[in-house]
Amino acid sequence: MHAQTVRLIHLKQVGPDCHLLKFDCPEVANQARPGQFVHLRVTAGCDPLLRRPFSVMRTNPAEGSFEVLVRVVGRGTEMLAQSQPGSEFHVLGPLGNPFELSGPEGDVVLVAGGVGVAPLIFLATALHESERHRYVRALFGAGTEDDLCCWLELSGVCDEFTAVTEDGSAGETGLVTDFLPEQLDRGAGCVYACGPRAMLAEVARQCQAAAVPCFVSLEQWMGCGVGACLGCVIPTRASGVGRYQRVCKDGPVFDAAVIDWEAMRGGCGPG
């Protein structure tokens, strides 16, 4: 874990409200693992006050850089999208627990929704480059074709790739979870998912029914990002002190089976 000031070296709009930001930071480039995130201070002032978490989408250890895919949803992401290459940002990272690469035998199924694709691109790249080559099938869903940001980056490192849009403007028509049953029917060693909560809950439900291990990357508003404030918790099926686990430290990747999806339904955080 490092804390340092890094330089934004490149910035590219890759969708209606999506931007790819590349930072010069050898430490994160070398150490980040798929599923980990960085905690970025958007301004030196106090508006907004808190840092913003973003999953690492790609590292380039040779160049000493890493990339994040940012969707503009509010003031902090807006400021990031508007910033100039050369600007400096304070970054903490890499943070959190990565996806387990050495999951159970069998095909890997990735389920991405919107910018949730970012950590899965990193994961698919790592699987693709790993010695123990595993067959990777990806589902990537979004509202429209334009929202399928960085789909090329994902399809390029998967063995099979299915795009799904709600309006049918690209790939299959519907929700990404409509197409998960057939993937599960074909047999799968393990499912990794990242995206909106409702999507994750449905993925988790289907995987549990099919008895396929499932790992999800969750989001929650964060204070410290390092496990100190207990602000970013999500409900698990445990009780007592273990009931609420920290997304920043115990996650953001969780075994879907430990999450209390019922309690999440009340709307206990973003997305």
């Binding site: 804390a3 808190l50 903490l92 207990l230 918790v233 002190v241």
Partner: protein, 311 residues
Amino acid sequence: MAAGRVDLSVDLAGLRLVNPVLVASGTFGYGTEYADLVDVSKLGGIITKGITLQPREGNPPPRICETPAGMLNAIGLQNPGVEVFICDKLPALREFGIPVIVNIAGETADDYVALAARLSECEAIAALELNLSCPNVKQGGMHFGIDCALTRTVVGAVREATRLPLITKLSPNVTDIAALARAARDGGTDALSLINTLLGMNVDIRRRQPTLANVTGGLSGPAIRPVAVRMVWDVADAVDLPIVGMGGIMSAADALQFIMAGATAVAVGTANFVDPGVTGRIIKDLAVFCEEHGVARIADLIGAAHSEESR
């Protein structure tokens, strides 16, 4: 006078701190969470996350929410309980070699007494901070801290149960903070710390519901600094006890406001989240300020803004 020559040490009710910069309860975990990022051993001291007799699971999420120059939190005192704290957390805390101040919270006066008694058996605890001001729990907490008679009673009972220095943490959600300070003094506290968070809330207009599951939360961060400085000022006028000042400190300049208003030491809270390096920078910049202004000992600045001239 070189910055290295400035004497930053202060005496907090008999506790010698090498510098006046502490970390505030609940914002620095049990020290280890930040150990990769911060040289914890250079802090004036550490105040731990609030500890209760029994483990607590805390409030359901969302527990935090950002507000202009501040944040709301309603953690609800999630903690493993005093026994696990002593076994699992204290040994590592001791390793930092700095004063460890343990923040304790209870639902009844007996809880506080039992906690104080139990912790007094441990080595390596420098002082206790009595959290009479947590706004995010249903029982105890702030309910003590807004009532003078209760405050006096609880402090008095704990006073009997321990020989450790006692720091009573006051709630800002009161009409007359000076009266509460006097009550804590009368109960026998050695020092006061203030402020805890201001009670606040946020509404999620899209969902037409309070943003926090707990409905209300405690407001912290730079937004509350003027309120905190004012309360330290009032309390410094009212009682003759050392004060740990806190609330929105982000820089040495902020810390100096509290010191000049009457604080002997300061605690940095929310700012740790924004910039883990903040405490190190504050300690350095305090020395630079003293040097540039010909101040040999930072202790000379305590209450400096209360001079006759300014009345």
